[in-house]
């Protein structure tokens, strides 16, 4: 039974503007990553989440700072929204000494347990059981923490993902399975990889509460994650959230994102992009005006610039410690 009021009704004007700032921060951060990649300063594949920014922003807001998070190669925004330091994150992605992991992890392996971040992952679905374990640990120790694990529509076909869903359900663990259903896994459309494209059905089959919603509406995302977190904390077990969204960029920096998608389809989703929509709502509802938005945007840009200045000033990581071996 849905509650009388949506959790968003609790949000203050500052909160509402903070959500916008978070969306824009992520956009600026990822644009800068792309620029650094194109300038040759950033190694390897870069997986951006353009058009999906409402999800990290809304989910981050709905969680407690000490809640746990595991995510994918496409998770920069979640780390930011969870409070991870921008500068140390940029430094990690640039492979510097002051990076979150001392430059050893790289952008697919961001860790920051101080902010609950238990790993980005390069293996599709690889971090899902980690989150289930963190949820178990929280339940076991009575910490009241929730674990959020974020993954794509393609990841649900990886065995370990489904094993995790079942374990979470049978032990009623406080874990939120947030599926960013952006309709494609790399270049494969959802309908080519699964017969039942409404993934909520699959989750329900494990005996889990599910919800499907507009993942490009930041307030809806906030509501859904807040409700799920409350249910988890109340001991009601895991929740599956299917957020409908779309990446308006390619799978990675060298993929133009077309070929397997039409220009029209991309344009349609660009029109529904979270920043755009939310900015419209904020001004329409008179929470702020154009100038107010511009101020948030330039704040975000400044924060990103500062982070990258820090990162670029950081030296190469020392080799000896790394070569000394893997054990603590």
């Amino acid at each position: 039974m849905p509650p009388a009021k949506k959790p968003r009704s609790q949000l203050t004007r500052d909160d509402l503007l903070g959500l916008y700032r978070q969306i824009v921060l992520m956009m600026r951060f990822e644009e800068r990553l792309l620029a650094e990649s194109q300038a040759g300063n950033l190694r390897g594949s870069l997986h951006l989440a353009k058009g999906q920014e409402a999800l990290p922003a809304g989910a981050g807001k709905a969680l407690r700072p000490d809640d746990y998070l595991t995510m994918t190669y496409r998770g920069h925004g979640y780390a930011l929204a969870k409070g991870v330091d921008l500068g140390r994150m940029a430094a990690e992605i640039l492979g510097r000494r002051d990076g979150l992991c001392g430059g050893q992890g790289g952008k697919m392996h961001l860790f920051d347990p101080a902010h609950g971040l238990l790993g980005a992952n390069g293996i599709v679905a690889g971090g899902i059981p980690t989150a289930v374990g963190a949820a178990w640990s929280s339940q076991h120790q009575g910490l009241g923490r929730v674990a959020l694990t974020v993954f794509g529509d393609g990841a649900v076909n990886q065995g370990v993902a489904m094993e995790s869903f079942n374990m979470a359900a049978v032990w009623k663990l406080p874990v939120i399975f947030l599926c960013e259903n952006n309709l494609y896994a790399e270049m494969t459309p959802l309908g080519r990889s699964t017969a039942e494209t409404d993934l909520a059905h699959r989750f329900a089959g494990f005996g889990m509460t599910t919800a499907t919603f507009d993942g490009n509406d930041v307030l809806e995302v906030y509501d859904q994650v807040a409700l799920a977190a409350a249910a988890c904390r109340a001991g009601k077990g895991p929740v599956f959230l299917q957020a409908m969204t779309y990446r308006t960029c390619g799978h990675y920096q060298l993929d133009p994102g077309l070929g397997y998608r039409t220009k029209e389809e991309v344009a349609e989703w660009e029109a529904k992009s979270p920043a755009h929509r939310y900015a419209g709502w904020l001004t329409k509802e008179k929470h702020t005006d154009k100038a107010g938005l511009a101020k948030l945007e330039s704040e975000a840009l400044a924060a990103v610039d500062q982070a990258f200045s820090f990162a670029l000033a950081s030296p190469e990581p020392p080799v000896d410690k790394m070569l000394a071996g893997v054990f603590v």
Binding site: Q104, I123, P129, Q141, V326, V328
Partner: protein, 329 residues
């Protein structure tokens, strides 16, 4: 209830259990999970009764989802617990390799130093007619992939002491038990840790060194008896901890005997024996009076029929022959 500090005669299985119980009493962060470990007490009854002492909050039966629950253990280890996982058969590690190698073995390195305090206990090996999918010793895979300590005791005392160390270690430890060893009994100093990273001379000798571990170590001791009857004195080095490896201990023995035979039950190609032989010839080239020889399982999947399985797996006689070959006799 066994009490730390006392000396008892225990089977290998009991020695393992005593170590787990000891650590669970000492440290409430230690939790146990695996298939049928709780209510049933494990397929080999190693965890029998622990649920009664520690409750089902700390001793958890899992679904048949090895990837899932090994991954879960990683999440728990990163958030304040110290899980001890039972993987029912070594062979089943293959369904969980990504979680083992891409996730938990790499977490410390990728994160720039996070501790991952967890132990995975498993049981492997042949000789029981369990055929190709229930008889394997796969330690070589775990040695090739950096990030896991790998321990393979051959006696109750070592099983006990090394498991205590493993549970207290802040790195992930893969702990290998052999199905043929569970019933073997011996004296165990309860609560006495054995250090991870130290080999142990199980029998002294001067003519040849036999390096081995786990169940094959027991066969090596039998081979040494057979050899002694023929006037050959073999020194038997129990490697015990395969990673980190105590190369110095092997070297010390080799400098005495100048002959080395490595015996193990895993396959030969890219096995532990290949690894040790390569390291030994590199570091102790001038000490070797003969090539390092290996006695391993034949490089075919373990067959079912008894005569076929016997032809594939090591035995004291085969180890003895290989030693004589090494000595040019």
């Amino acid at each position: 209830m066994s009490v730390a500090g006392t000396l008892e005669t225990l089977t290998f299985g009991q020695a393992v259990k005593a170590a787990i119980a000891e650590e669970m009493r000492r440290d409430e962060r230690v939790v146990l999970l695996g298939e049928d470990v709780a209510h049933h007490g494990g397929m080999f009854q190693v965890t029998k009764g622990l649920i009664d002492e520690f409750g089902d909050e700390r001793v958890l039966d899992t679904p048949i989802s090895e990837s899932g629950f090994i991954g879960m253990a990683l999440g728990a280890a990163l958030t304040g617990l110290r899980p001890v996982v039972e993987l029912m058969f070594f062979d089943f590690s293959l369904v969980a390799m990504d979680q083992l190698f891409n996730q938990l073995a790499k977490t410390t390195a990728m994160s720039g130093g996070l501790p991952v305090p967890l132990v995975i206990r498993t049981q492997g090996g042949g000789y029981k007619g369990a055929a190709a999918q229930h008889s394997q010793m796969l330690e070589a895979l775990f040695l090739h992939m950096p990030g896991l300590k790998v321990v393979a005791p051959s006696s109750p005392a070592d099983a006990h002491g090394l498991l205590l160390s493993a549970i207290r270690d802040d790195n992930p430890v893969f702990f290998i038990e052999h199905k043929q060893l569970y019933a073997a009994s011996g004296p165990v100093a309860l609560g006495a840790e054995q250090p991870i990273g130290k080999a142990h001379v199980a029998r002294e000798g001067s003519d040849v060194t036999i390096a081995s571990y786990s169940y094959t170590l027991q066969q090596a001791l039998q081979a040494a008896d057979l050899l002694a009857a023929d006037g050959v004195e073999a020194e038997v080095v129990d490697i015990r901890t395969l990673n980190p490896l105590d190369l110095d201990a092997v070297g010390a023995s080799l400098c005495k005997t100048h002959h080395l035979v490595i015996a193990h039950e895993a396959h030969a190609r890219c096995g532990f024996g290949a690894d040790l032989a390569a390291q030994v010839q590199e570091k102790y080239f001038d000490e070797l009076d003969a090539p390092v020889l290996r006695l391993c399982a034949a490089d075919v999947p373990v067959p079912f029929a008894k005569n076929l399985e016997d032809a594939v797996l090591p035995s004291p006689d085969k180890i003895k022959s290989r030693v004589l070959e090494c000595l040019g006799k």
